[in-house]
Amino acid sequence: MSEILLQIDGREVEAKEGMTILEAARSAGIFIPTLCHHEKLDPYGACRICVVEADAGGKTSLVASCLYPVEKNLVVRTRSEKVDKTRKMILELLLAHAPDAPALQDLAKEYGADKDRFAKESLFCILCGLCVRYCTEVKKKNAIGFFDRGARREISFIPEIASKECWNCKECFPLCPTSYLQAAYHLTEALAFPRHSIKCATGK
């Protein structure tokens, strides 16, 4: 694989073809915040916290560093007025859903995001998709999925599958930045699981 030379925050970084800006930055010890990214999963590009400024083809634009492939002579800025302003707004929008999420609170401090900028929303899921993608890509059980679209998008367990698979797994639980996942699971379990899963849980 050929070497590609690009510039991140004024530093020359050597990357391999096929790498994303995020991977190249990490290999050079440069930090870019992420929320929906996970090493075991395909990059998703949903939270957009990882956006960076990239100069390519005479244009400057904000791109998701977890997805954008490295190019020769690409100039990247991981922090700038625009990047910071954008991350601050995204955080404030997400904090309206999950003001108590530790990952969001840490980033909020860094970017001066105000958790009370917007009125509280009822759903405290931030739709990072880590749970859905983990179950589909790593466990290959497809016990949880997305539901609806736009402002009504949510995650939802498939009771028939979850009742058989989740009790002994729950590997997605620690991935959730807000603990909404655990809440959704227990609610589904209480309302929709067939009786035999209670047997599994209690061993009786």
Partner: protein, 642 residues
């Protein structure tokens, strides 16, 4: 149906078809596009068929059910060939008179003609009606001449000669060059040079390659593609086949939104007929080139008009866009090189191949060549589809072709580009329609929706309308779009309810910036456009809503009240009876009074009060005068008897 195996055979076949058609033979062409069907065109066709049978003329006079010729305001519409007599607003009951008078006696029926609103002149021939005269109808001009369910009709007007030329005389690379030289820019909204896109796909490594027709046409208010697909599906199919040849693809798809059932039907039938003639399948016209096409229906998602979402939907997945790069030309359908173009873009291709790139470059401005079909709708006299050369001014489209604003109302803005676009105010009406010029004034060309608005349109409501639309159509995957639109909509809703406050406009602009810059795809990226654009040109309306709790256009329900002027009311009882909320009290000689608690602001009273009384007033930003005391409500009329 015979299989046609070479360009020479095609020309023989075509000559044969034409020779069997007597150009002098009377033919009644009835528009049966979805619009005219909604106005009863099917019954008109049935009435003609019955009348011809009654008069024993079935073998002497043809009836042709055609696609949409665009003058939707005046449907049901018929054109009688060969004289090209155009009759408008035809009803089934007119069939007898038309057959007896016009077909047999060659007399014109005046009352069915187009009347010029200024000169009063009656116009007989379709091509002379100002609505049509000021257009340049290269793409939709054939609609009234052909039955979209008949491939022979398409062949009779020269169809498939472009494919024959491309396969027989040009190499794929030469075809790509022709399209590049024509400067054809994508007609779906983004305006990317089509030839360049074709070249990327052609040069990308990988097999198989795919070509796709984007017929998702999701912009509300735009129906150009519907008319082309329903009325002349072969033109698109031919363009697609030529494109496949140029790019090196052997498999094509039409992605048609399921809300267009007639388009799905006509495209499917067109493909079947093309297969039978050998214009699709193996060894097309003896060239050795193979190509098959399938139709794929959408399932009700505006976002699937975005090319990467469309491809996911074709793959049977939810329509979530993917980041670009990589672009579909490199990694598209099933990760293979794919070229997607809009319906109108594909329809231009046969014209370029037959007539050369100059056919487009000789028309239009420096940056935008050829013609563009617009759906001219809203508050305009001649609503319908118009095809005009690039470079025409907006003023000419709205006034010369569109006939101006109805009801003597004042023009306020023209909205282009759908939910990604903007409203252009009067001060810019003289700009030339051109991809780059429209961008300069804060709008976009878009796919062609052109919605005219007058003084009765509230621009805050327009921005709120588009955001409301997008909040349900966003796929919801990325946070700047999903959350940004959600919060902007909340603020706009509050403003329209009279709950806006200082700082709201600035907050809208701040959210808009993040949504525009950080969204995953163009839906989110352009979502702020209607908001930012209406703030730019109509900030005073926003401020009236926020500071004065006043809606200047009397649209936002929470900010308006209806009041019956006691000095003008003549107690005619019309509004009292029509009020759906029974909110009006009064009697035969008793002045009517609206109970503001019960009033639902539906506006019925305002509409039904006779013009000579003009007693109902709309109020906004001012308190409603208290009702006059009961005793004062009796109307004393002068006795007619002396």
């Amino acid at each position: 149906m015979p299989r046609i195996n070479s360009p020479a055979e095609l020309e023989e076949f075509r000559k044969d078809i034409i020779s069997k058609r007597d150009p002098k033979r009377p033919c009644i062409a009835v528009c049966t596009g979805t619009g005219c069907l909604a106005l009863g065109a099917a019954k008109v066709v049935a009435a003609f068929k019955e009348e011809l049978k009654k008069q024993g003329l079935q073998r002497k006079v043809d009836i042709r059910e055609t696609g949409c010729p665009g003058f939707c305001e005046r449907g049901p519409l018929i054109v009688i060939h060969p004289e090209e007599i155009c009759y408008l607003r035809v009803q089934p009951g007119d069939a007898e008179e038309i057959v007896s008078q016009t077909i047999l006696a060659k007399k014109i029926i005046d009352r069915l003609l187009y009347v010029d609103p200024i000169t009063g002149e009656k116009i007989v021939r379709e091509s002379e009606i100002p609505f049509y005269k000021n257009q340049m109808r290269h793409l939709i001009g054939n609609n009234i001449k052909i039955d979209p369910k008949s491939i022979d009709d398409y062949l009779a007007v020269g169809g498939y000669s472009a494919l024959a030329k491309a396969l027989g005389q040009e190499t794929p690379e030469q075809v790509v060059e022709m399209v590049k030289d024509s400067n054809l820019r994508g007609r779906g909204g983004a305006g990317f040079p089509a030839g360049k896109k074709w070249e990327f796909a052609r040069k990308s490594p990988g097999n198989p390659k795919y070509v796709v027709v984007n017929a998702d046409e999701g912009d509300p208010g735009a129906f150009m593609d519907r008319a082309v697909l329903e009325g002349n599906p072969f033109s698109v199919l031919e363009g697609l086949t030529i494109g496949a040849y140029a790019i090196g693809s052997h498999e094509g798809y039409f992605y048609v939104r399921q809300e267009y059932p007639l388009a799905v039907e006509n495209v499917t039938l067109a493909i079947k007929q093309a297969e039978e003639y050998g214009f699709l399948g193996k060894n097309i016209l003896g060239s050795g080139f193979d190509f098959t096409v399938k139709v794929h229906r959408g399932a009700g998602a505006f976002v699937c008009g975005e090319e990467t979402s469309l491809l996911r939907s074709l793959e049977g997945k939810p329509g979530e866009p993917r980041a670009r790069p990589p672009y579909p030309a490199v990694k598209g359908l099933w990760e293979k090189p794919t070229n997607i173009n809009n319906v109108e873009t594909w329809a231009n291709v046969p014209l370029i191949v037959t007539n050369g790139p100059e056919f487009l470059t000789s028309i239009g401005t420096k940056g935008s060549k050829g013609t563009k079909i617009f759906s001219l709708v809203g508050k305009v006299n001649n609503t319908g589809l118009v095809e005009v050369p690039m470079g025409i001014t907006l003023r000419d489209i709205i006034y010369k072709v569109g006939g101006g604003i109805p009801g003597g109302k004042k023009f306020k803005a023209v909205q282009t580009g759908g939910p990604s676009g903007g409203c252009i105010p009067e001060e810019h009406l003289d700009i030339k329609v051109d991809f780059d010029e429209l961008k300069k004034v804060g709008a976009i060309m878009g796919s062609g929706g052109m919605i005219v608005m007058d003084e009765d349109t509230c621009m805050v409501d327009v921005a709120r309308y588009f955001l409301n639309f997008l909040t349900g159509e966003s796929c919801g995957k990325c946070s700047p779009c999903r959350e940004g639109i959600r919060q902007m909509l909340k603020i706009l809703t509050k403003i329209s309810e009279g709950k806006g406050k200082e700082g709201d406009i600035e907050l809208l602009e701040e959210i808009a910036e993040a949504t525009r810059d950080a969204s995953l795809c163009a839906l989110g990226g352009t979502a702020p456009n209607p908001v930012l654009n209406t703030i730019r040109y109509f900030r005073d309306e926003y401020e009236a809503h926020i500071k004065e709790k006043r809606c200047p256009a009397y649209v936002c329900k929470d900010l308006i009240s209806y009041h019956i002027d006691p000095d003008k009311c003549q107690a005619c009882m019309i509004c009292l009876r029509k009020c759906p909320a029974q909110a009006i009290s009064g009697g035969k000689k008793q002045i009517h009074v609206i109970d503001q608690e019960k009033c639902t602001k539906c506006g019925t009273c305002f509409e039904v009060c006779p013009a000579r009384f003009d007693a109902v007033r709309r109020l906004s930003g001012v308190p409603v005068p208290p009702p006059i005391p009961e005793e004062a409500r009796m109307i004393v009329r002068e006795s007619k008897q002396k």
